[in-house]
């Protein structure tokens, strides 16, 4: 749960600015967009492998000793969430009408201010992007297993716990954990949806 929230936040920290940059500079960036959309389907096991190589003792981040810690899982999950969040941020910004973009520029806003304002305009869509990003990282197993190691009480996530239960034939516990996972997904979604409706209520 904590891992998911942190991974989504880290993913948003990268994803939203990248999405804003791509969304607001419409042309010339189509190559980057294609790359982004390809990363949508980045297999978790590859993200885990990259994270492993990055954080293993010989890797560039090896000195931080992150491997097999919850932080390692956060990093890998954010690899998975960031492209989704960035891509959906691009889509959310595309929904802002052209005359609003123009009005913002015509009001004298510089590029940074205009970007800030327009991201605010696209907030409902960006919250939806966070939901999707969160959904991807919540139940992910392969990456979490690779860099977390499923250490009990340390890096065992609900997903990896279910995997282990199934391996040991404990289907009852696996099902219970599965239900818990669904419940958590429901609660997180409900929370974000509430945020979305609250922000949007003065628009109705």
């Amino acid at each position: 749960m904590r891992v998911t929230v942190e991974a989504t936040l880290l993913g948003a920290l990268v994803g939203v600015p990248v999405g804003a940059l791509l969304g607001l500079r419409a042309r010339r960036r189509s190559v980057f967009r294609v790359m982004l959309y390809t990363l949508y389907s980045l297999p978790p096991v590859i993200a885990g492998l990259l994270g492993y190589l990055l954080m293993s003792r010989e890797g560039p981040l090896g000195a931080l000793r992150l491997l097999f810690t919850p932080t390692a899982i956060v990093v890998v999950e954010s690899f998975l969430a960031a492209p989704l969040i960035a891509g959906l941020t691009v889509a959310a910004l595309a929904e802002v009408p052209a005359n609003v973009r123009e009005a913002v520029r015509a009001s004298g806003a510089g590029p940074a201010r205009a970007a800030w304002t327009l991201v605010g305009e696209a907030r409902a869509g960006i919250v939806a992007a966070l939901m999707v990003g969160m959904g991807r990282s919540l139940a992910e197993v392969a990456g979490a297993l690779l860099v977390g190691g499923n250490v009990k009480g340390e890096t065992r996530t609900l997903g990896t716990a279910i995997l282990q239960d199934v391996g040991q034939g404990d289907f009852a516990e696996a099902l219970a954990l599965g239900a818990l996972l669904l419940l958590l997904a429901f609660a997180l979604t409900l929370g974000l949806a509430w945020l979305q409706s609250r922000r949007g209520e003065d628009e109705a």
């Binding site: 005359n99 123009e102 009005a103 015509a106 009001s107 004298g108 605010g120 628009e203």
Partner: protein, 222 residues
């Protein structure tokens, strides 16, 4: 007089070789049929759009006020929308709102200040767009059919307001379909057709005795 807004030999989309200038304290009415490129020319003069060829001289965007044909608003109150140009220029929220509120009063929108800008009717939206364009006291004002949804009473009051802006030295470019409005407000008129200015001159004389068949037809139709 050196023009404040100047476009020379502009080509872009429908425009081909369009030239137009507006001096400080002058009001120029730009007439022309739909699709002749009026909005494109306005956007190029406002430096919101780069021409394919030609030359543009205009004050920086911060000193221009633009009223769009269909004003785009942020998802915020009418007041905050009108205050936005001042916020962008570094005014505090309180100051920006106070000045914006004065503008809303002048345009009869005081009662709509706290309403979401997306709830405004067509005429109200045009007045709010004008309030926003004027709030930072621009050097040049570009109006793209900015009064076509106003009732006669508000059309007259907005025209008075535009005269006051011109009197303080603001350059006003008025895109309009109304020959009558051009007569009432403009010092000069220009007719844009098929991407070019086909006739241009002092408003009263030019509209009274057009040189070209095209402007004559336009005046007679109106």
């Amino acid at each position: 007089m050196t023009p404040l807004l100047q476009a020379r030999g502009i080509a872009k989309w429908a425009l081909r070789d369009a030239s137009l200038s507006v001096a400080a304290g002058e009001c120029v009415a730009l007439l022309g049929p739909s699709g002749s490129g009026k909005t494109t020319l306005v956007r190029i003069l406002a430096t919101l759009l780069a021409p394919e060829s030609g030359h543009v001289a205009a004050p920086p965007l911060r000193r221009i006020g633009l009223v769009q044909q269909r004003p785009g608003f942020l998802r915020a109150s009418t007041l905050d929308n009108v205050a936005y140009p001042l916020r962008v220029r570094g005014a505090s929220r309180a100051t920006a709102r106070r000045v914006a509120a004065e503008r809303l009063v002048a345009l009869g929108l005081a009662a709509r200040a706290d309403a979401g800008a997306w709830t405004l009717s067509g005429g109200e939206a045009q007045r709010a767009g004008l309030a926003r364009a004027l709030v930072a006291r621009p050097d040049a004002l570009l109006l793209d059919e900015a009064t076509n949804q106003l009732d006669p009473e508000w059309t007259r009051r907005v025209e008075d307001l535009l005269r006051a802006e011109r009197a303080r030295g603001c350059a006003v470019l008025l895109v309009t379909h109304s020959v009558a409005q051009a007569r009432r407000l403009a010092d000069r008129v220009a007719l844009l057709e098929e991407g070019r200015i086909v006739e241009e001159g002092p408003a009263a004389e030019t509209l009274a005795s057009p040189r070209t068949e095209r402007l004559r037809a336009f005046v007679e139709m109106a």
